[in-house]
Structures are given as structure tokens and as C-alpha cells.
Symmetry: C2
């Protein structure tokens, strides 16, 4: 089952040439989830050959421009290019009000069902679930209400051993039961254990998106053991005071979180425009947590 | 005196790769005026080496996303990058409400004086004036309230003939008077006509920006004789019915306006995403009005 993330933006609020504000596309079994939607996200989707109409739902962390200013344009374009299937937006309080005011004054009546779901910025909640994944909100600590998101694959069913199934000529109707752990009794009365007819399921994987936050460990428990952690790293550690003052984190702090949470890989992003070169941020993180990577535009990471 | 326009965006509402929504920078004697501000305008400014902080004031034609969605991000960035000098925005009703709601919810207190001026969508008005130019709003006929803008250089003072001034050793204090038409009497009592000491002023030039509109000739009188006319040309003339239905114009109509208004050059823009190639639109316009040009990203036109 496909589970990867494509980075569409790596910059923080102040614009910088060749970087875009926050946006990511999470591909979960060919369903696309957009995480944050900074200005220019539509162009970034096109640049990465991702059809906007494939977006299943949208998750917005908070109402700072570099995380949501591309949303109204995207919603309008989906309307103009003929979307009819429903779209759910999961975001902070007031996002709906901001979007609907603009649709109203532009005299735009979106032709597809558009639903806004408000994330509680204080309490972790399951905000979305389908047969493949569960999404939880992660309360963060930023200057305004802000949540991260944890995308967790569900426990998968065991994998069918096709060779055995063919050999025994198992009726099709039995297959879902076998995958769920029922033994199979053939016509002669012989019992075949499901353990012999299946192999172990892939372990469920998980992705945590830690958007803008001061590094206060409050969210550590919730992200323990995720496979891939995205953590904002706006500054380097020599600017820790500035990071704290602006409710942001440093690359070193992100790496410490990754280390303490026991994740497999750390993606760094939301870089301040002061850093033309990003290698020093990467070096700072890898010195604490070796599996750190720069989540820059166009990169795709398997989770 | 410098008077030119740099095109930052040429697309209409539906996004298309390598085109950006409407935005232009008008340079009037090294003062920069931003006309419309579609999503991604900040990136386009950077791409064209124009410092956003140099923008003197902003003119927004109407509240359709492809004409204003870059505004909140730009205003925030000017704040983040230290602007202190005042900024005036001239735009349609409700623009201030849209911007201020977003600043409020993002807890952003803009540190420079920011003023919104509402353009009357029904009546042409002088909306701005400085020693170099006068700006008039142009009521247009679109699906929602929409105005164009006419930028008119003021009549310039006559140009000093430096050779004569030096030859006669004219006192500095006399020079502004001579430029204004006063004769100069030298120490010997001889009178020198200002006509001999100066040459004719450059003729004042003008630029009209006709944003989204159905082509109804209502605005023709107001743009008669401008040097350079920008006119939206969303469609080609075989789609006239669609243009009319959506309150837009065709390239042929834009050219007919240019011809009847007696302008010197016509800039075509706001192209529908259906046109990958723009040469056919240009050909349609030049067949009616030869001095037609494609106003595409990065082009600079002297007015």
C-alpha cells in the first residue's frame, strides 16, 4: 500500500525565491491528502504533476498566511474545473468564516459539497477515518491556535499466500474470512490453518506532521514511535531565543524530538528566509539524529 | 521620466502552468504602483527582481481570486520585512473587510500605516494624485463590482536648455520660474524669453488598465487617446457567446476598443487556460489593431 509524502513548500512566512510556503501531499493508497496550503500551492501541484482534482481532503494547521493563503484559490479552481465530489477541510476555528466571506463577495457558489470541520486546538482527537487510515489532531503551542496531524495506517489484514490458495482451490468466498483469521476446511474435511494460507501483514506505518510550534514536549507522547516525523525547524540553535520568542523550533530541537520519540526518519522544513543554504540546518539535526532529511520542494519520502 | 509597466501575470481564473494570475507593476518616475495582486505575486516580484518594499500603493480591480488573492500575503510580508512607510490600497467594497478579518485571526498587527480606499464601481473618480500623475477609476461591467484604472501623467514643465542657462549664467533661483514660463532679465537689463531658454515639455502619457469586463463600450470615452491600453482578452472571438455569458471580452473586441479609442498600443492579457498557445489571440487582435502585443509574464512595456 502506497504511503508517501511529496513536499510542495519548505519556507516560513517571509518569502524567499525558489521556496514556497508550507504544503504537502500525502498519498495514502492512492488517496491524496493535502496538508497545509500556502500561497502558490496550485502552481506547486502543477509543477509536481499532481492533479488538484485528486485531492481527497485538506488539513490546515493554523491561520498564518504561509499555511493557508492558497486555500481559497484552490477551492475556487476545483469548482471552476468541474469538481462534483465532496471535499472536507479540517482546520482551525475561523477558517470557514474566512473562506466563506471571500466566496460570498466574489459571488462564487461552489458546486461541490464543501464541509469544514473544526479541530479543537486544545485536545487531541480522531478527526478522520477510512478503511486505510486514522487521522488524529495534535495540539501544538504556537502564537495562535495550531494543530499538527498524525496519519496512522490501520492494522492490515494478513497477506494471502496465492500459491496455497490456488493449490487448494479455495472458493473465492472464503478468502476474506481466511485473511481475518478463520481456518479453511476443504471438501475432504481437512482443516488448513489460516496461518499456513497467509503471511504476516505489513506493519502499519504512521506519519506525524508537526507544524509551527514552540518545542515544549507536550506533543511527544502522541508522536512516539511514528515512522516518519515532519517537524518544523525554522531556525538554527544559535537563534533559540528568537525561536522561543516567535513560538518556533530549531533544527536541533526537532532532532531531539525525533530522537526521544524514537522515529525512523525526521523531515525538516519551514525554514527561515535568512538561511539561503540549508545544509547547516541539516548538519545540526543529523548530529543529534542521523536520519534527518531536508523536506524541500519536489522531494518524495516513503513513510 | 520613466513610465513603464512590467507584467507579472497573464492568466485568468483557472490556473495553468507557467502563467500567473493578474498583477502588474507600473513604474512612474521610479515610484512603483501594483495593479491587481493575484496569488503568487510576491514570487513574481522576486522573479522579476522588483523589491516588494518599493511598492508605493496598490490598486485592486475586483474581488475575484485571480486579482487579489496575493494581497494578504504581500501585506504580511511587507510587515515582516520591516516596512514603516504608509501604504494605500485602492480597491472595491469589502476588500478591507476580507483583509482585516484575516489579519485579526492570524493575530497580525501590521506595523506600517495601512489605508483602504473604496472605489465607487459606478462612477469614474480621481482616486489618487501626486506631482507626477493622476489616477482615475474606470467603472467596468463584470459579474461583480469591478473598476479599471487610468494613470495619466500630468502636464510637464518645459525642459531647461542647459547650454543657454550656462551661457547666460542664470541664477539658480530663477530656474523654476523660467520653466514655468517667466522671462529672464539679465544684469544688463536684456530680456531673454523663456521660450529661448527652454524646449517643449514631453507630452504627458497615459496608461489604461481595463480589467475583467464585458465589452460594452461604456468605458470607451474615458480611455480615448491613452498611449497604452491594457485590455483583458480572455477568449477568442469564436467564443464570444461564452465571453458575454461570463462578462469577459475577446481578443477581437479588445482590438476594436483599441482602434476606436485611438490608442498607440494595446496589451492583451487575462488569457483563458484553454489557450496553451497565445499567438492565435495575438493574430486575431492584430488583424483589427496592428499595434497589439501579448502582455505575458516578465515583459516590460514603455508607455
Amino acid at each position: 500500500m502506497r504511503f508517501d509524502v511529496t513536499i510542495l513548500g519548505s519556507s516560513s512566512a517571509t518569502p524567499i525565491f525558489n521556496r514556497n510556503p508550507s504544503a504537502q501531499i500525502l498519498n495514502v493508497n492512492e488517496r491524496l491528502f493535502l496538508i497545509d496550503c500556502g500561497e502558490g500551492t496550485q502552481q506547486q501541484l502543477m509543477r509536481n504533476n499532481i492533479r488538484a482534482q485528486r485531492i481527497h481532503s485538506i488539513f490546515i494547521s493554523h491561520i498564518h498566511g504561509d499555511h493557508y493563503l492558497g486555500l481559497v484559490g484552490l477551492l475556487s479552481s476545483l469548482h471552476l474545473t468541474g469538481r462534483t465530489k465532496p471535499l472536507n477541510v479540517y482546520g482551525p476555528p475561523h477558517l470557514q468564516e474566512i473562506v466563506e466571506m471571500q466566496l460570498k463577495y466574489s459571488d462564487t457558489v461552489i458546486r461541490y459539497p464543501l464541509f469544514f470541520n473544526v479541530n479543537d486546538p486544545e485536545h487531541a482527537q480522531v478527526i478522520f477515518e477510512n478503511p486505510d487510515i486514522i487521522v488524529e489532531s495534535i495540539p501544538l503551542d504556537h502564537r495562535i491556535a495550531c494543530t499538527g496531524f498524525k496519519f496512522m495506517q490501520k492494522t492490515r489484514m494478513r497477506k494471502l499466500r496465492k500459491d496455497k490458495i490456488q493449490e487448494l482451490n479455495v472458493p473465492l468466498g472464503m478468502i476474506p474470512l481466511i485473511k481475518r483469521g478463520f481456518d479453511y476446511t476443504d471438501e475432504s474435511g481437512q482443516v488448513h490453518s489460516f496461518l499456513d494460507l497467509t503471511s504476516e501483514a505489513d506493519l502499519p506505518r504512521s506519519y506525524a506532521y508537526i507544524s509551527d510550534t514552540i518545542c515544549n514536549w507536550r506533543y511527544l507522547d502522541q508522536i512516539k514511535g511514528v515512522n516518519t516525523l515532519y517537524h518544523e525547524s525554522t531556525f538554527m540553535d544559535d537563534m533559540l531565543a528568537r525561536a522561543t520568542e516567535t513560538y518556533h523550533s530549531t533544527a536541533k530541537q526537532a532532532a531531539e524530538v525525533a530522537h526521544r520519540a524514537g522515529v525512523q526518519q525526521l523531515l525538516l522544513g519551514h525554514f527561515s528566509a535568512r538561511y539561503r543554504e540549508l545544509e547547516p540546518l541539516l548538519a545540526e539535526a543529523t548530529s543529534v539524529f542521523p536520519e534527518s532529511k531536508l523536506a524541500i520542494e519536489g522531494k518524495v519520502f516513503d513513510i
